[in-house]
């Protein structure tokens, strides 16, 4: 269980995350939505400790994550794998090495510097690539792959970290609908099969509805909604995105990334005044 208590982050005068408290049980798939600048990324980055919180604490199974330092901190980062919008792979290195880098926190200094990963790490990486149908690309340079493939490499890398939580920061924002679906399906499959807790930042509401057990909506650093997708009504959506203030029409279908007909269609349409 992941406990976030009164977590805040200030960048100068700006409060990016404002006293957020959450309880996330193991194995839940959680979608975090909200406008750009609502604090979604900062929240995820604080959980991974890429960004240090200003106040508050993060506790994972009675381990105080906010106090971790040095090797302990690196092992924590490995155990809550992060997936980025821009994939953040080493483009000039082959796919296999990019995935093996997921073992970096448990690799010794000399082995890491000489790029000599163990045989066990190599087979673990190949297994992860196989799970994401990327074995044929294993020896290609990561930079030569398409965006969707690169994101799946990033997921494979996250898997070999043997994580307990998976954090995905806008994983499909730079992908076309077909690739977005593949990436989201992969995340859901990992959530269901491995029982991993998945926290995913999304800016397409219908994706969050289609894939997540629970939706957390943020605005101006605060949690404005936390519950099941069905409970997220059109009034709530308008409040979160501030569509009313802007005086513009708001239509979930406009930002939709789904291509399959039927199941992923938005059930609720929020139309502004």
């Amino acid at each position: 269980m992941l406990l976030v208590e009164q977590l805040s982050k200030q960048f100068g005068d700006l409060t990016a995350v404002d006293a957020v408290s959450l309880v996330i049980p193991k194995g839940q798939m959680v979608g975090v939505i909200g406008r750009s600048g609502a604090g979604k990324s900062t929240l995820l980055r604080m959980i991974n400790r890429l960004t240090d919180p200003s106040q508050g604490s993060i506790v994972y199974e009675s381990q105080n994550v906010t106090a971790l330092r040095g090797r302990e901190l690196r092992l924590w980062r490995a155990s809550c794998a992060m997936i980025f919008q821009q994939f953040n792979l080493v483009e000039r290195m082959d796919v296999l090495t990019n995935v093996m880098v997921g073992r970096i926190a448990r690799t010794g200094f000399m082995r890491s510097m000489t790029r000599s990963f163990t045989e066990a790490d190599r087979s673990r990486a190949i297994d992860a690539l196989d799970r994401l149908d990327l074995v044929p690309q294993a020896l290609q340079r990561a930079g030569t792959l398409s965006g969707g493939q690169q994101q799946r490499v990033a997921i494979a890398k996250a898997l070999v970290q043997n994580p307990r939580i998976m954090l995905a920061d806008e994983p499909i924002a730079s992908l076309d609908p077909a690739n977005a679906t593949r990436v989201m399906d992969a995340l859901r499959e990992i959530n269901r099969t491995d029982g991993l807790t998945v926290l995913v930042n999304l800016h397409t509401l219908d994706t969050a509805r289609a894939y997540c057990d629970r939706i957390i909506a943020m605005r101006a650093g605060q949690v404005r909604f936390d519950g099941a997708p069905e409970a997220l009504t059109s009034e709530k959506v308008r409040e979160i995105y501030g569509a009313g203030e802007l005086g513009t029409d708001f239509n979930e279908a406009v930002t939709s990334t789904s291509i399959s007909s039927g199941s992923h269609r938005p059930q609720i349409k929020a139309v502004g005044t």
Binding site: N48, L50, R74, L75, W76, R77, A78, A81, M82, F84, Q86, F87, N88, L89, V90, E91, R92, M93, V101, G102, I104, A105, R106, T107, F109, S112, M113, R115, R141, G143, T144, A154, K157, A158, Q161
Partner: protein, 304 residues
């Protein structure tokens, strides 16, 4: 023109104002740079006069540059060897009479450059990471390495050579250390600038997976900057060959010492022979290294 809309009329006014201020800036800066030039030339002795004795015995005052120019030709003429077609081989042997010593010293010159480049690359590579604004672990380490690199490259290699000849005596060891130290400073700056231009996303990717600072550098930065490093290193090798052929002037090994001896003994034809040797070597090495550099850039240009 008469029926221009108010927006266009306003634009014409603004445009005229912009033009006027640009003209003023240009005039002020032109006058300023011209003044600087005149002052520098005056301080550098460009307007000095000198007394010259003419062929008919008259003493006249003449502009120094005008009076001195013919002597340049005179000097160059003195260094030319006497070559006759009938005795060409003999004359050439005569010209390059010390070729055995010179060949040995030429090899020494190239080896000094090679060793110095190697030292410079190792030092600069290791120091370039703490000297990069985006990678330095903290301000203090960043400033210390930056200042260190600045100091060692600001002191010319000839001055380092003087110091090292004093410490370690006459010979190539002093030359290698001197050029190596200067090259560390120069390459360290170039490498760290390449690091600062690197994409930081892979670094963040490694960090998020639990990689240490060294892991972040090893996987996030090094693969990106390797082509730049190779290119800068070859360029530096070319520069080091030039440096090492001069450094013997102060006793730090290589061909330079022969140049110095020839100059002080006024062996003018030896000078031209030595210059020819250095000239040819530098051209050959430049061509080879440029070839390799372009091949590397060509290989890696795509997808960078």
């Amino acid at each position: 023109m008469t029926s221009a809309s108010p927006a266009i009329q306003q634009f014409e006014l603004d445009y005229a104002a912009v033009r006027k201020s640009a003209l003023r800036t240009n005039t002020i800066s032109t006058v300023f740079f011209a003044l600087c030039f005149v002052v520098t030339a005056w301080m550098g002795g460009f307007f000095d006069m000198t007394d010259v004795t003419l062929a008919n015995g008259d003493r006249v005052s003449m502009w120094k540059i005008w009076a001195g120019l013919p002597r340049l030709g005179e000097y160059l003429y003195k260094t030319l060897p006497v070559l006759h077609w009938e005795t060409l081989w003999g004359d050439l042997v005569n010209w390059f009479w010390r070729w055995k010593v010179w060949l040995q010293l030429l090899i020494e010159t190239i080896l000094i450059a090679y060793m110095a480049t190697l030292l410079g690359v190792v030092g600069a590579f290791l120091l370039s990471f703490p000297a990069s604004r985006n990678l330095a672990p903290n301000r203090i380490i960043f400033n210390v390495t930056r200042r260190y690199l600045e100091i060692i490259r600001t002191v010319p290699d000839l001055v380092w050579a003087l110091i090292f000849v004093f410490c370690f005596g006459v010979g190539p060891l002093a030359g290698v250390l001197a050029i190596g130290l200067h090259a560390t400073g120069a390459l360290g700056k170039l490498y760290s600038e390449a690091n600062e231009n690197a994409d930081m996303r892979p670094v963040e990717g490694i960090k998020a997976s639990g990689g240490s600072w060294f892991d972040q550098i090893r996987y996030g930065i090094v693969p990106q900057v390797i082509p730049n490093i190779i290119s800068y290193t070859l360029l530096r090798f070319e520069i080091n060959v030039r440096s090492s052929s001069i450094i013997g002037f102060v006793g730090a090994g290589g061909l330079g010492q022969e140049i110095r001896v020839a100059m002080s003994l006024q062996e003018y034809t030896d000078l031209s022979a030595l210059f020819l040797i250095i000239f040819t070597t530098v051209i050959v090495i430049d061509m080879l290294s440029e070839n390799v550099r372009h091949r590397i850039i060509g290989l890696t240009g795509k997808g960078v």
